[in-house]
Symmetry: C2
Subunit: 197 residues, 2 copies
């Protein structure tokens, strides 16, 4: 039987580069699979149910909350998003590692429900760099950039509640550090309680 | 200023391959330095003071114990061996990682005095393999092999008190896992308490 996989939660402020790092990490780690969220928002063109998201009704989402079927969930602008527990459990039991790319509040919810989760905080190299990245996108008006910077400051206050921090100054280095964390977590003696020589 | 180094304790039963793995690890990690023990036994030919060991008198060793100058020490067949704290502290402060290759009792003493130490237990791939390795050396009489196997069983009972376990089925794999542990430990959020963006 394969050894149980590791649940990796990757969080960090908008502009830290979570998406880029996640994609590079999934490329580098064939045993790592991205968790698919459930949402009540309608599918956009090109989105496939069970791949982009599990698209569910508000009634179904509500029932899933009541049944404690989420590792974490949140409401955003009137829609709901959550991480269903069952597919994560199944993947881990098969020995797959699972990646959740969620915000800090979600990460802390997961740790609460699932203490074995490994929480990694992705940090921008510096404050000016974060501001430059958010401004450089050009897609956000200046007030929105300011709001995200303020939000980043708030999120950073939860850094000590995370297990690991990785500074994203170079994507390859950040990916290498996250891979090292996964390897190291598999070497924890807690995972050797059945070990007999 | 360089970030503080990591103190790595590598232990494991006789025959697990600590020496081979340590040497390969030191080759692969230029930032890692092997701690030099102090001993009361006289130097053998070819041994240099401060390189192989710090050779000290019994009086000096005794004073060092009284002054709490050891991270761990033990008496073996009438001679004393110990890890002086000061050189380790200096190396860590300079950002060097330090490797201690010591037995399980010593490792647990270190953890007690120095909770930030990272304890890694090197495991043989299997019991028959351990027996084969100990017998295969040909240098030990069968009673001595049996004694070491019994001792290995006792040491293994302390596995849960260690932080990590690495199975030495292939030296390169064991080295890679230990390197991942060092990288991961440097990403622990405890080490980011001064982080400001």
């Amino acid at each position: 039987m394969a050894a149980r996989g590791v649940l990796v939660v990757l969080s960090g402020p908008s502009g830290a580069g979570k998406g880029t790092v996640s994609q590079a990490l999934l490329q580098a780690e064939p045993n790592l699979t991205l968790s698919v969220s459930a949402t009540t928002r309608p599918p956009r063109s090109g989105e496939t149910d069970g791949v982009s998201y599990y698209f569910v009704s508000r009634e179904k989402f509500s029932m899933m909350i009541d049944g404690d079927e989420f590792l974490e969930w949140a409401g955003v602008y009137g829609d709901f998003y959550g991480t269903p527990r069952l597919p994560v459990e199944e993947a881990l039991a098969q020995g797959k590692d699972v990646l959740l790319e969620i915000d800090v509040q979600g990460g802390l919810q997961v740790k609460n429900k699932f203490p074995e989760a490994v929480l990694i905080f992705l940090l921008p190299p510096s404050w000016p760099e974060l501001a430059a990245r958010l401004t450089g996108r050009g897609s956000e008006p200046p007030e929105e950039v300011q709001k995200r910077l303020q939000w980043a400051k708030r999120e950073l206050q939860s850094l000590p509640l995370y297990d690991y921090a990785v500074i994203n100054d170079r994507v390859e280095k950040a990916v290498e550090q996250i891979r090292a964390v996964i390897t190291a977590e598999k070497c924890r003696t807690e995972r050797f309680s059945d070990f007999k020589i």
